[in-house]
């Protein structure tokens, strides 16, 4: 069944590729780019095509999740550049489907922050050029919380019972609990995972948390809750909507994620891919992308040029020390089953 579906998908994609080829054969070399929806500044592609008249970008943003990207790539479509998420990139590196990137060919690579190079997903920094990044932390309402928010402990403090919201998301919430208990959020130790589960169950019974994902934002913006676990990108948008809100990455550490540009081996236009990646890394374009997407940027020059208020916001620009405390998600391997069981126990009891 799966094979039939992916075959059908491949046929459909080949057909659409052929159509694109037939309709637009103006002698320009094509660069196939796969990225998430709404994940590039307005007009950036046109500007690239103006700067490099020999190339035409075929931009595909139909994949909603990194898993969907992975499936698209393994169905054999030849993309030259992918913007993908760290843990799937790690999987791709392990499966040897990515080209190494020769950073000496990228003039603008020097602007990428050292803090974000060599993450767990690409420890030797051979395959990836960071595009956007972010953390998971606590959004809090400064009108309802007097003390400094700097620890996961506050989400277990019964003073705030009934006033907290946590994410309905396995890795994020298990990660929070593991960090609260003082362990790695990639722990594969059964005892540590069970301890985290106990902490979550305790939180559920003593704190009466609201559990959700997208539904957490509006009540928090409206000032109805004191504390909410959130992704830094969403936190920025929430703070923008309600200036009473603030964001903190707990001192025990949290999750840090990176979306990076990669070059699959199946790509047929490596020169074009280098040109495209380098263009995206140029400060002017990176600034444009950052201002549009509003996620944290790995570009040091962009940080200097961007709005000062944003630069001083820890949701947008956490210091190196904070980043160092955070961990990337790692592939769990066989321990995934332990996490599943723990998560189901938490969600059903």
């Amino acid at each position: 069944m799966k094979r039939i579906v992916s075959f059908a998908a491949a046929v459909a994609m080949a057909l659409s590729a052929m159509l694109a080829l037939a309709s637009c054969n103006d002698g320009r070399e094509k660069i196939y780019v796969l990225s998430y929806g709404d994940y590039i500044g307005e007009g950036v592609i046109e500007e690239f095509e103006k700067a490099y008249p020999q190339y035409k970008v075929v931009y595909d943003d139909t994949a909603e999740t990194p898993e969907a990207m992975y499936q698209k790539l393994s169905s054999g479509v030849a993309y030259d550049v992918l913007v993908c998420s760290d843990y799937i990139i790690e999987k791709m590196i392990n499966e040897d489907v990515l080209n190494e990137i020769d950073t000496s060919r990228l003039e603008n690579y020097k602007y990428i922050s050292e803090d974000l190079k060599g993450g767990l997903y690409d420890p030797e920094n051979k395959y990836t050029v960071p595009y956007m990044w972010g953390t998971v932390g606590i959004v809090y309402n400064t009108k309802l919380v007097d003390e400094t928010v700097d620890s996961w402990d506050i989400l277990w403090d019964t003073k705030y019972a009934g006033q907290i919201q946590v994410l309905d998301s396995l890795r994020d919430t298990m990660g929070m609990a593991l960090k609260y208990c003082g362990y790695s959020l990639n722990s594969t130790d059964e005892n540590e995972i069970n301890e985290a589960l106990d902490a979550l169950l305790e939180q559920k019974s003593t704190m009466n948390p609201t559990i959700g994902v997208d539904s957490l934002k509006d009540p928090m913006i409206a000032g109805q809750y004191a504390l909410t676990v959130e992704y830094s990108g969403d936190a920025l948008a929430m703070i923008d909507a309600n200036p009473d809100l603030a964001y903190a990455v707990p001192k025990e550490g949290s999750n840090v994620w990176v979306d990076a540009m990669i070059m699959p081996k199946t790509g047929k236009n490596p020169d074009g891919a280098y040109a495209y990646i380098d263009f995206i890394c140029s400060t002017e374009i990176a600034l444009k992308n950052t201002e549009y997407i509003m996620y944290s940027t790995p570009q040091t020059e962009v940080l200097k040029q961007i709005d000062e208020e944003l630069r001083n916001n820890p949701a947008f620009n956490p210091d190196s020390e904070t980043i160092a405390r955070c961990e990337y998600f790692d592939d769990l391997g066989d321990a995934a089953e332990l996490y599943n069981t723990a998560w189901e126990t938490y969600r059903l009891n």
Binding site: K2, Y70, G162, D168, N208, I211, G212, P219, Q224
Partner: protein
């Protein structure tokens, strides 16, 4: 010859229905059965069913879902039956009031539920009112009450309509005759209304209970502390479909739930002696 073509016409007229049923009911159901017994590599296995049926956490979520559904159906019935009665007895304006009941149905139920959440959430209008009456803040949201409220709000019209229709069909003279023969109000209700509206009641209960057992958006928005069976199945599919293919356990849970609902509905339908349900 003429008869043949009439028969053919009839068959052709029914064709869209059959195509629809096959594509959107029969094939999906067969797929659920297939994946429930598939080991993901083309082989047969009973493991999915066993792990779905023996996991005590899953059993708990099924029980929670049935509790929610029973509670909501009961409340719907208690509110809906008298409403249907008064509507059917209204000389004028009954149609207009029915329209008022149907009006919210024209809006997407997701939006309605989201609106309800913002009304009963912590720090909302109703919550502030409760606080000023001396209750704790945040009492309504994340409670069984919130889920029941959401379900009754969403499903009540589905129960009123069939009962209302069956009440309209009751001949006024039958009631007059029973009164003449000395029947009290209770007897009239027990001997006339109840049996004659039973098809409507059964169909109304079906229309409320089945969606209430399986809904996942309403509990997820109003009380997401415990996954209901609908949420669990959704989670199982979302979690596994991305990388590993269709969820076997998710399909097995769907199958078990389907069987449970069919059994219950068969029992409920057996109560309805006419077998005249508009299910």
């Amino acid at each position: 010859m003429k008869r043949m073509s009439a028969k053919l016409k009839k068959t052709l007229a029914a064709a869209p229905l059959w195509v629809w049923m096959v594509c959107f009911t029969i094939i999906p159901m067969l797929l659920v059965v297939y994946y429930a017994f598939s080991d993901g590599a083309g082989g047969y296995t009973a493991e999915n069913i066993i792990s779905a049926a023996t996991n005590s956490n899953y059993l708990k979520s099924i029980l929670i879902s049935f509790r929610h559904a029973l509670m909501s159906t009961a409340v719907c019935l208690v509110i809906g039956y008298p409403v249907a009665y008064f509507l059917s007895r209204m000389k004028t304006g009954g149609g207009f009031v029915i329209l008022l009941f149907m009006l919210p149905m024209w809006m997407n139920f997701l939006i309605r539920t989201y609106a309800l959440k913002s009304i009963i959430d912590k720090g909302s209008l109703l919550d502030n009112l409760m606080v000023s009456l001396g209750f704790d803040s945040g009492l309504l949201i994340n409670s069984d009450f919130a889920v029941a409220l959401g379900m009754v709000y969403n499903f009540l019209p589905f129960l009123i309509l069939p009962i209302y229709t069956s009440m309209l069909k009751i001949d006024e003279r039958v009631i007059e005759a029973s009164r003449d023969l000395g029947a009290g109000s209770l007897t009239v209700f027990r001997r006339i209304y109840l049996p004659l509206t039973m098809p409507g009641i059964v169909s109304g209960i079906t229309m409320v209970f089945v969606p209430a057992v399986t809904t996942f958006i309403i509990p997820q928005m109003l009380n997401n502390k415990y996954m209901t069976i609908g949420s669990l199945i959704e989670y199982k599919f979302k979690q596994e479909v991305s990388m590993e293919g269709i969820s076997g356990v998710g399909s097995a849970l769907s199958l078990l739930l389907m069987i449970a609902v069919i059994i219950i509905m068969t029992v409920v339908n057996a109560v309805d002696k006419d077998g005249d349900t508009a299910m």
